[in-house]
Symmetry: C2
Subunit: 299 residues, 2 copies
Amino acid sequence: MKKRTVAVVGYGKVGQFAVEAVQASPDLELVGVVRRSGSREHSPELASIPVVTGIRELAGVEAALLTVPTRMVPEYAKECLSLGINTVDSYDIHGELVNLRRELDGVAKENGSVAIISAGWDPGTDSLLRCMMEMMAPQGITYTNFGPGMSMGHTVAVRAIPGVKDALSMTIPLGVGLHRRMVYVELEEGADFKAVENAVLQDSYFVNDETHVRQVPDVNQLIDWGHGVLMERKGVSGKTHNQLFKYEMRINNPALTSQVMVSALRATFRQQPGAYTMVEVPVIDCLPGDREELLRRLV
Amino acid sequence: MKKRTVAVVGYGKVGQFAVEAVQASPDLELVGVVRRSGSREHSPELASIPVVTGIRELAGVEAALLTVPTRMVPEYAKECLSLGINTVDSYDIHGELVNLRRELDGVAKENGSVAIISAGWDPGTDSLLRCMMEMMAPQGITYTNFGPGMSMGHTVAVRAIPGVKDALSMTIPLGVGLHRRMVYVELEEGADFKAVENAVLQDSYFVNDETHVRQVPDVNQLIDWGHGVLMERKGVSGKTHNQLFKYEMRINNPALTSQVMVSALRATFRQQPGAYTMVEVPVIDCLPGDREELLRRLV
């Protein structure tokens, strides 16, 4: 079997796990890592892997895993797609992903490439579950409950507040899709905790949720990449009420995100040129191996 | 919006719920029921619906829901597909569905029609979950635990035993994919319980599971269409172990089966001619409404 050649673009937490997920895939070959610094410093695990500063420096890349910050996804995706390189990202701004899909769809079709966007766990596999639950019981309510786990978006928002040296925002599920935010801050010398607390409580990320701010001496001691979801739906199949569905996972967040991206990357090779979300792609396309053998084992 | 025209073929329990599920769908129109008897006897709910003995007697059918017994699916599917009518079935013989898919694929492609096979909950939506869990954690074990609920296949097997007037076989989950069979039998006058019990215990349907047989005066008093599934996977994403996934549902069995069939039927209109299992079809194709609006709401 000829392996597909893959580059990892971006080398934050998800990028590091993405390298492992590619290495663990029987049908994929890692041909390089694209990293702003272009350096292997502090990354002994990259010793035998080409590290470059731009995707054009790597030859023969068929697909790229874009593990850059969400706001940089459109730019990097367009660059790759216009070079004929398939892309997968985990773009996580729910309200804007339809626009990203449109934008990339044009570039992909022009260049004969494929993009699968928002391929993490939410959006991503959770989106698949929400669609499935609605297909099984079209009338009803679905609740997606997150956590307990670290919210990257909320944490970054707190870190940007003056006087904050480091921060951690935990998402605590309260049920029926409501969440509590537990914010842990490590302050800079002389910073005023009350001022920081007020800034957090008035931030648009926190203003709609019950939020508690705690001062701690060392945020790093609290960090754990575990996260979770509990999704529930009670609905109606046909005219029959009280159909009950529940999906729960407890996972290492960057490990799952990168694995879903790698699985989606495999599916890019099986779609017509264009941009897709995961719910628009057959699930089986994400798995390696012979199609009929998979159907025998999993259907 | 022009509604798609649908016939329900077969009018057992799933067929009855399928009629309701079509009626509850905003984009589908029920044009008739195909029933061996061709009669509305004992079915006042069919008063305003054409009832015929063969699919050819109905004009303008675009798709058929095949709610006939599994063994009759191939014959009925081939008839419909060769008439250019899309089909959905809930064919449930896991070991043979790949052969059915091949057989129908040829007929469908010759006639420009689409078949989605094995579109119930197992095989069907459970298959989607098994694929998803494997995509999220490629290494590990998935356990599918069924019940408590009535097993149609096992019940039919017991009913065929001489001396049995009526029977019910309940599937009880013991965890890690193991099941206990609780068999309730109502005997014919003069039948010997011990002989029936031995026949059950030696039947190939029961020989591999812990099985208990009980004599009851009236099986009908025990019947409840509720069923359930608990699917669990503990596995590895990339190189990260202990990723935990769990899916659970508690549902009315024929109501869910027929709703999944109706949702899959919608997807037949969005595939190229051929035969597919549910895992080969984008999940979003099963939902009615504007594509981008669905993506905004569910992804």
